[in-house]
């Protein structure tokens, strides 16, 4: 295993700070103290919390902004994170960077579920405006997008895993478009990223979907002192350094392939497979077991579905999971990548083995690593996620690193199209 000896990048300072305190004021104080040790005037700050701090967001944000009033800040809720201090699914972390040859600006777009392209355009326009006088060649953008929320219908309440075919059809064709206007349902990350890439063609992109603890009940995004739900927040940076990105997927294809013959809601819901009702076909012919094995579909979702993501012949970089079932229809976690689907599988050992393939190039110097890697890995690995930390510590030495664990992650190296998927590891640094 290669151990990277760091060469200090002149002028570039990074601090990764963690607080495990509960009280917002104490959290802010601890984070500020830790940032100040290495970075006294951050060019920007990324702040991430788990959902446990939702009653203290204002205290934490105002505390940090009071201490660093000139440091643009974005962030939001994630389900967990990993850094040299440890692995955590409860806590607050900040990534603070300072580098003299860098211009920075913030962007936000609201109502991402209702109108994802408009939200992405608004965010991109702010970034373009903020960097229009910049003189540096290389540009990158770090984003956080509101993840899916379990749909909530007026008079009905939250709906997830509906057995009734009639209600399932209503939800698929009417309910899901309706709830997006009300701020819940699917996140539409692929629409957002496609628009961002179109609006900012020269930008490297990295980010993820802001989530709670996987329950999909609430999530929050921060920009400066403000707290949003249903938004994209982003920080755009221009610098004289080059961007280096690495990414890898953690799943393997099985030999189970099937043709999607019916869809709804703009290819986010599968209604039929091989011209048969989708759920029935999926269980019996693709997964190869009966739905009756599970006392209820919630048990399938919690115990099994994480291990069987899908990808597509037409776009193997699109990896997604089964969200829930509406009658015979299957709601996917995001837009499908084609009509010829392939069942994938993932094993805990595979996740760890694939992680050992990243950061293996001796030529790279890493002043920091900022990464996004789906929380689904923690669902699968549990405490064995610490094995990944051991790997990263060995590879990265004393390089400050922060791996955020959102619902799904996104990445883009221009001029290629953005990649939106779960079950992957995407990292960015400067060189």
């Amino acid at each position: 295993m290669t151990h990277h000896k760091l060469e200090k990048t002149p002028g570039l300072k990074v601090s990764v700070a963690v607080s495990r305190e509960w009280n917002g004021k104490t959290v802010a104080s601890e984070i500020i103290g830790k940032i100040n040790v290495k970075v006294q005037k951050p060019k920007f700050i990324l702040l991430f919390t788990t959902i446990h701090y939702k009653d203290d967001f204002k205290l934490i944000l105002s505390g940090i902004k009071d201490a660093f009033p000139d440091s643009p800040l974005i962030g939001g809720t994630v389900a967990g994170f990993m850094c040299p201090e440890g692995c955590f699914t409860r806590g607050v972390t900040a990534f603070a960077l300072d580098y003299p040859n860098m211009d920075v600006c913030l962007g936000v777009g609201r109502h991402t579920k209702r109108n994802p392209k408009k939200a992405a355009r608004e965010c991109a326009d702010m970034i373009k405006e903020g960097l229009k006088k910049n003189k540096y060649e290389t540009k990158f953008l770090i984003n956080l997008i509101s993840a899916p929320l379990i749909p909530e219908l007026p008079l009905v309440g939250k709906v997830n895993n509906v057995k009734s075919n009639i209600l399932g059809m209503i939800l698929s064709y009417i309910g899901m478009p309706l709830v997006s206007y009300l701020g819940s349902g699917i996140a539409k990350e692929s629409d957002i990223l496609d628009q961002l890439a179109l609006s900012l063609p020269e930008f490297h992109i990295i980010g993820g979907s802001s989530v709670d603890d996987g329950r999909m009940i609430s999530n929050y995004q921060f920009i400066e002192n403000e707290i949003y739900t249903n938004a994209i927040v982003a920080i755009g940076c221009a610098t004289d350094k080059e961007v280096y990105q690495e990414n890898c997927a953690m799943v393997h294809e099985t030999d189970k392939k099937f043709k999607i013959t019916g869809t709804a809601y703009n290819d986010r819901i599968i209604t039929s497979i091989e011209n048969k009702p989708a759920k029935e076909y999926f269980f019996e012919n693709v997964l190869g077991f009966s739905e009756k094995l599970f006392k209820n579909l919630g048990a399938f979702y919690y115990k099994t579905s994480d291990y069987f993501p899908l990808t597509f012949e037409e776009n193997k970089e699109r990896i997604l999971g089964v969200g829930c079932f509406f009658g015979e229809n299957i709601l996917l976690s995001h837009k499908m990548g084609g009509k010829h689907a392939i069942l994938c599988s993932v094993r805990g050992k595979e996740i760890i083995t694939n992680m050992s393939t990243v950061f293996n190039n001796d030529e790279k110097n890493y002043p920091f690593i900022l990464a996004f890697s789906s929380i689904i890995h923690v669902f699968i690995l549990g405490k064995n996620i610490f094995d990944i930390k051991i790997l990263l510590d060995r590879k990265l030495g004393d390089t400050p690193y922060l791996v955020l664990q959102p619902m799904i992650e996104n990445t883009r190296t221009p001029p290629q199209k953005p990649i939106i998927r779960a079950y992957s590891f995407n990292a960015l640094t400067l060189k």
Binding site: C87, R90, A299, Y302, V378, F379, G382, K383, I385, F386
Partner: protein
Amino acid sequence: MAHEKEILDILEDMLKLEDVYACMLVRKGMQGIMPPAEKFNRNVMSIWNILRMTMDEFFDVIKQFSKYNLGEVNFRLMNYEVMFFILPWSDMALVAIIPALANKGLLEVEMENGRRKIIELMERKDDSP
């Protein structure tokens, strides 16, 4: 037990997580450190005796196999799961009772953090003059 207050703080921290219904550092016979029962979820308390008896049976297994560095044991009883994170080479475990369909992956990370902190505290005792 040394560092009892700090260990209690760790356990009470874990109890703040929504899906941790009860949490303790114990060995067979429930000897060890346990937060006050009123801080536990009421539903768990209603079947506490059954849970205790079942947990005690598992502690026999833990005691027998701890010499092989048995790491974790889980079992499901009714609508609950009981997670044992065993302290290395010992018959004591950090135990949490959670609902059956809770997200175990996330909870395991915090259980592991709890176990590591407890081990750190206990080793501190061993290093002291």
